[in-house]
Symmetry: C2
Subunit: 419 residues, 2 copies
Amino acid sequence: MRETREILQSAKAASPVLASASTEGKNQALEAMANWLVWEQEAILQANREDVDQARAALGEVMIDRLLLTPERIRDMAAGIRDAAALPDPVGQVLRRVVRPNGLVVEKTAVPLGVIGIIYESRPNVTSDAAALALKAGSAVVLRGGKEAFRSNAAIVRALRLGLTDAGFPADLIGFIEDTSRDSARDMMEAAGFIDLLIPRGGAGLIRSCVEHAKVPCIQTGTGICHLYVDASANLDMALNIVENAKTSRPSVCNAAEVLLVHQEIADRFLPELRRRLVEDRAAKRLPAVELRLDPSAAAIIPGTAASDRDFDTEFLDYILAVRVVDSVEEAVRHIALHSTGHSEAIVTEDPAAAETFTRQVDSAAVYVNASTRFTDGGEFGLGCEMGISTQKLHARGPMGLEELTSYKYIVRGTGQIR
Amino acid sequence: MRETREILQSAKAASPVLASASTEGKNQALEAMANWLVWEQEAILQANREDVDQARAALGEVMIDRLLLTPERIRDMAAGIRDAAALPDPVGQVLRRVVRPNGLVVEKTAVPLGVIGIIYESRPNVTSDAAALALKAGSAVVLRGGKEAFRSNAAIVRALRLGLTDAGFPADLIGFIEDTSRDSARDMMEAAGFIDLLIPRGGAGLIRSCVEHAKVPCIQTGTGICHLYVDASANLDMALNIVENAKTSRPSVCNAAEVLLVHQEIADRFLPELRRRLVEDRAAKRLPAVELRLDPSAAAIIPGTAASDRDFDTEFLDYILAVRVVDSVEEAVRHIALHSTGHSEAIVTEDPAAAETFTRQVDSAAVYVNASTRFTDGGEFGLGCEMGISTQKLHARGPMGLEELTSYKYIVRGTGQIR
């Protein structure tokens, strides 16, 4: 097993080649990576079968499905790499240009970060997605996946590295950490000078560990306690559609809603309709019903489980919705300030003043008026791709596309100017 | 003495008021702060006299000068606050706007960070400059200055807070840490949830301590081992002007040059001229001569001190220049990659290919062709102001103006869209 530090050093040493590569060169490398992924399909599927066999005892059906690869999923991964090749190259873009009175030409120019580290969990498609985006952004990448997907990830990385070599690039531009214990995650967090950006993609525990231990720059991603607030003036049909979509269209993702706040003026009318829609209608359609966890005011109107305090601070990632009645948009904003993870929140309202208060005062990466929180996604925002959803305020917030995976420098051209 | 944690909590609690303040409101607060700074001039000068008296025993003349306040310097500080008021408000700017095929309107909108913490050293004018820029950018600020300037800083903060109250804003938008021990700096570094951005402005020790201990987002600033490279094709007169300017115009600042690399082809001609210009001519003009610390190749051409290895990794901040002969632009780039702090580097050359290699491959915040490194400054780059020079790659690199002191969020407006 190669040491984590050695893998990081190799990636750092290889990174300048990519930083000064042409767009065409990078795209050829991506094309070769996509080809080799398909050519190595049998080896990847075999490795994945071993992972799945071993995981069956420990993981539930949903997790097994996240882990499972099929020929179709591998084709999708290859298509994802080609999509990255088709995106505009962020590197070298002049973000701002000024000519100063003394004649200096100052250009703020996008440049690669250097080495991007990624710590992620079970889905093996992240391996190729993340590598493709990092490379297109001009940075080497070091991947540290979860242990359930170890064989699959190793086989995918082998194919991607064959593509790099085929295109004349050093294979070490994609580093793969073989140690899947917590030690290697800690080693990455502490690798100052070798990792220019570390992206932890995972649960709250991983994020907390990064805040606690990281000596390298990190971007926290992916924890979403997302709120919906149904205002007194809301169109209630629209509100029902948005709540059902945000809660049930894909409950396991970070932009799914976990908490519903309802204005007291409409709670008597709205909550019974909500229950019918999320519980009774869905059960009748043989869809998973939503468990409603109700604060005392909501529980006085409809039946449901009594909410504990913890229910308003939990990312359920399941068919569970915590419900609270509030007396104003301001109280909704205060609740969100105390309980949100800063990911995505939505108001449903026909009142422009309430919308204005909500969008101004809610301090989250994405704030919606009359739309589902499920849209917080690089593709849906028009970024073309996504490396994750940042819930922090520095550098990148919300979906991270290629631009957010670069830095910049000032290139200043003169004719002998002194100060 | 108020506890550091309590001061941070008060700033955090006050910050939403400023985040939703109008541009006009913020500018009125800044105007009131400038007025109170002048009205409180006598108290500030008295406090400063006490600081200076106490510091005289311990500090040299240069440091005493940095600490000293005069009526003129206080007027300059007030003018600096009014300059911040005159700058365009970064908050609320729509940085990107897309209308998606489904009709969603996605606006990437600049928003305040929340609370900005600043750890700084002896110059008391930083107190008002930093407070004014943070407030204009919509964030509360918590200031932790050095102990030599404690009384001066406290008096300045008192005046600024009177200005805030006068304009109807909470005084706690400017927090002042009264504990000047290392404990309070550590407390700030660890105050996750209370500080949204911490800017350490100081020496290498403070920066290292931040990398080691910070659990809040930090931007490293201000350490500059800046390099000049004189290429084989350089205009030697231009090179002499640039070297003298970059080294001697203000040796104590971070954008001053510390290391000179000279191409071997011109070393025989250039180094004797360099010595005449930096040593003999300056001595004749009664200007401080520059001590040249020479690698063996340079020492074979001109007299000077023999350089130790450490001289190529030292921020002298003094009339000292380390000199090394290199055999190509590529060797210069490699030397810089190993020894630079990533602040500012310059090439002097008439060869476009050498300039291209240098600007592409040198990975520093500012890379110059035929100009002095001394221009790395918010004002000189046209940003209108500056909170410091970032030497890191995430969020902000190079001079940080108002834009770099903000974050953004996505505001998404729909008509009931679901996914």
